[in-house]
């Protein structure tokens, strides 16, 4: 496996003197005005290009807390959760049941768009960071990602099982993962978070979220976008197949006919 550390740069912008109105207008920043600490993060690129032999990697996000109280820092009062969330997709969970001896998909529940991937790193396990209610209100943690069923769900008694199955399968596929010790302070206000990119990472618009907690209370959240694109011939083929399906099909047939014809020429018994 290529443990490529994809691009990172320390961003030490230690002067977030933005007017309060501007902060509210910016959806990528949420601030609890009770506190004066501010968090900032940076990655050196807003696009990650994945080649066809990609088998997973770690990205490192650097960040800093501005206005940190050193005494509180020393007593581990600050906690940071960094996550990488994939593009949202409508997702259906199906359940097989035995019907006349055969296993058949019987029940299904459709969920409102959920992150296709979710990779989280934190300074310690989530239950030590804040209350589950607070974490759930911000969709932090695999068990707190909101899974809202849509359409007919029958009597609704099965929703819990389906939610659990969805989380279990996403984790088994490596799409949802967590590292409760992945965020580390490297100086008194600087931290480094390593977030895992699974091999099957979905392409599209991802977002990096960094959330700061102080003694269990929410201080600030910051988001930055990150595009994941695939490169090379494979990506060209994928795009061509999806944008020009008919031409792609004609080409596939042409290639097959050519291969068949050439082989009959090569192996012709004369």
């Amino acid at each position: 496996m290529r443990a490529a550390v994809l691009s990172l740069a320390a961003v030490l912008t230690l002067g977030l003197i933005l007017p309060a109105t501007a902060q509210l207008a910016d959806p990528t920043i949420t601030i609890n005005d009770k506190f004066s600490e501010r968090i900032d993060i940076g990655i050196s690129t807003n696009e990650i290009a994945i080649a066809s032999d990609f088998s997973g990697a770690d990205i490192t996000v650097f960040g800093a807390i501005d206005g940190v109280d050193e005494l509180l820092l020393a007593t581990f009062a600050y906690d940071i959760v960094v996550s990488l969330e994939g593009p949202r997709q409508t997702t259906t969970v199906r359940r097989k049941e035995r019907v006349a001896g055969i296993w058949i998909n019987r029940h299904s529940i459709r969920f409102e768009p959920i992150p296709a991937s979710y990779s989280m790193s934190s300074t310690r396990p989530l239950d030590g960071i804040s209350t589950s209610m607070e974490l759930a209100s911000r969709d932090i943690g695999i068990n707190n990602i909101r899974l809202v069923p849509t359409g007919g769900i029958g009597d609704g008694s099965r929703v819990t099982e389906f939610r659990e199955a969805l989380r279990r399968i996403k984790q088994a596929d490596g799409l949802y993962q967590r590292d409760p010790t992945g965020v580390r302070f490297i100086s008194k206000s600087l931290f480094r978070a390593s977030v895992r990119l699974p091999a099957n990472i979905p392409v599209g618009q991802h977002k990096v979220r960094a959330v700061l907690y102080k003694n269990g209370e929410f201080v600030m959240e910051r988001q930055i976008p990150l595009r994941v694109v695939k490169t090379g011939l494979e990506q060209f083929i994928f795009n061509f197949a999806h944008l020009h399906g008919l031409a792609y099909g004609v080409f596939a047939v042409f290639l097959a006919a050519l291969t068949g014809w050439l082989s009959s020429l090569m192996f012709r018994k004369d």
Partner: protein, 308 residues
Amino acid sequence: MTIYLPIAELSVNIFVILGMGAAVGFLSGMFGVGGGFLITPLLIFYNIPPAVAVATGANQVVASSVSGALAHFRRGTLDIKLGLVLLAGGLVGATLGIQIFTMLRRLGQLDLIISLLYVLFLGSVGSLMLWESVKALRRAARNQSVSMRKPGQHNWVHRLPFKMRFKRSKLYLSVIPVILLGFAIGILTSVMGVGGGFIMVPAMIYLLRIPTNVVIGTSLFQIIFVTAYTTIVQAATNYSVDIVLAWLLMIAGVIGAQYGVRVGQKMRGEQLRAGLALLVLAVAIRLGFGLVLPPDEVYSVVSGSFGF
């Protein structure tokens, strides 16, 4: 060495795919079948999403049937007129089949129906072939003559109207059963990703009484166009043709087929048919187990393109 399949959206071992293609090519050369009915289940066993396996299987069959049909054309064992009538039915069937395929995918029952159809068709064709070839082998052991076709014997098929003369096949036959056969095979091509030779050849010999020497060439001729049509429509509607996967299978397949043909020529017809019957039954049994055994995970998640 792994290679990323752009449409199936997963990485596979290139040697496994080439090995699969070569093995199926060898068997198809040896037994004179297209091999689609082996490729598609093998791809599904190797975790290729069934939707991609079916569409890609159809694409791969184009190559093997072009190669085969050209050989028959040169030998003059191809009835183009009969092939065109079959094809007319086949194209209509394939169009309907793709509608069925898309609908099943939306309902989440595509995997089930593909497996059921394979178990049903491979199971029954395999059993019939095994029974017939064992009888033939016994007769051969007792030095009796073996004849596949009983000329001059007519059945209900030959009393149907709209008759047409097929010179190459030396037949005067109603077009209705021919079109219906093409239609049925067309549906199977688009739903199962097979050429359908394993059903069409026996049906042409036993049901329509078409001379055995033109049957294989003519069915290959029809298969080229129906699988080509299916590939194009699958690509345009379901985006499920993986050209990288298909091409690897074709290359390995056409090479494997050459060796298969040589081995096949050294074996007796009834031995070949018995071997093919056992192979067909083995695939049917393996797929049947998959339907009956309790799955490791009863839940499945569908999001994005082929996540099932």
